[in-house]
């Protein structure tokens, strides 16, 4: 683990972000240093990776993630992602990355209209991303899901491309909670450096406070990825 010592991972806070503290805690549990990033700054403070956490940025006004995707810090995140900076979007963070064009598709209102809050079983479909290398494809993990606009949609061509290129990273198992197309819970960018998912791995890092420790692997995976960058 010596090559990962001193790794610094940014966690962005927007107005309405809720899960930045848990995301920072997950970064710390993984053995890295969390660095608080502010939505209004044009500054990534030299971090090795970025987590865009969950919540209700800007009150979900217009569309979930739409306003946040245009915040000053996102200009830097988009530039960084183009250079291969690992970026993870969780829940509202996933919505923001889709709105910013860093990930394909969109997240819309759950098919059943209900806000879904439960421990969700997922299958890891790809270990070939910056955020999932510590898993093995086919692994099943349990992490909390809590969202009202979590239904992943994309056009047929995009879905075909994601499947063909192995960019569906997480899929819901044991029942689709929100009507997401092809049971998709998370996807990756073409280079595998940007990953977004609706469920919350940062809430599943300690048996005391979560249903499992299955989520920690995302935060330990990126240490290797960032070290190689």
């Amino acid at each position: 683990m010596s090559e990962t010592a001193g790794m610094r991972i940014g966690v962005i806070t927007f107005p309405g972000t809720l899960d930045d503290v848990d995301a920072a805690r997950a970064v710390r549990y993984a053995g890295a240093e969390p660095v608080a990033l502010w939505h209004g700054d044009h500054d990534l403070r030299g971090v090795d990776a970025v987590v865009v956490p969950g919540g209700f940025s800007y009150g979900d006004y217009l569309r979930a993630g739409a306003i946040a995707s245009l915040a000053p810090i996102m200009t830097e995140v988009i530039d960084g992602a183009r250079r291969g900076l690992p970026v993870l979007g969780i829940c509202n963070g996933f919505q923001i990355l889709c709105e910013a064009g860093l990930l394909p598709g969109a997240l819309v209102r759950n098919a059943g209209l209900h806000f879904v809050c439960r421990d969700q079983r997922l299958r890891v479909e790809s270990a070939a991303t910056a955020w999932t290398s510590r898993y093995t494809a086919g692994d099943e993990i349990v992490v909390p899901l809590k969202s009202g606009e979590g239904r992943y949609v994309a056009d047929a061509a995009t879905l075909g491309e994601l499947e063909a290129e192995g960019r569906v990273v997480f899929r819901y198992t044991g029942g689709n909670p929100n009507g997401a197309m092809s049971d998709i819970a998370g996807v990756a960018s073409a280079d595998g450096r940007v990953v977004g998912l609706m469920p919350h791995p940062e809430h599943a890092i300690d048996a005391l406070t979560g249903p499992s420790t299955d989520g920690l692997g995302l935060f330990t995976s990126v240490l290797t990825a960032a070290a190689m960058a």
Binding site: L62, R63, L70, E99, V108, G112, G179
Partner: protein, 77 residues
Amino acid sequence: MARVVVDVMPKPEILDPQGQAVSRALSRIGVAGVADVRQGKHFELEVDDSVDDETLHRIAGSLLANPVIEDWTVTRV
């Protein structure tokens, strides 16, 4: 100054559960005969005369609507 209306609707192939919920609620106020409801957004913009149609479509397509899931129309009124 001119008034411009931008209407944003979910694409036909996108399931609209909110519209469906409205549709179901219509029966509860005693209305029959409404086959389907789809819910969208209506924006009214007060714009300077110098704002051209291209700019209006850029506003609609890059902020007011998400082209992945929504269609939009721009109307000067």
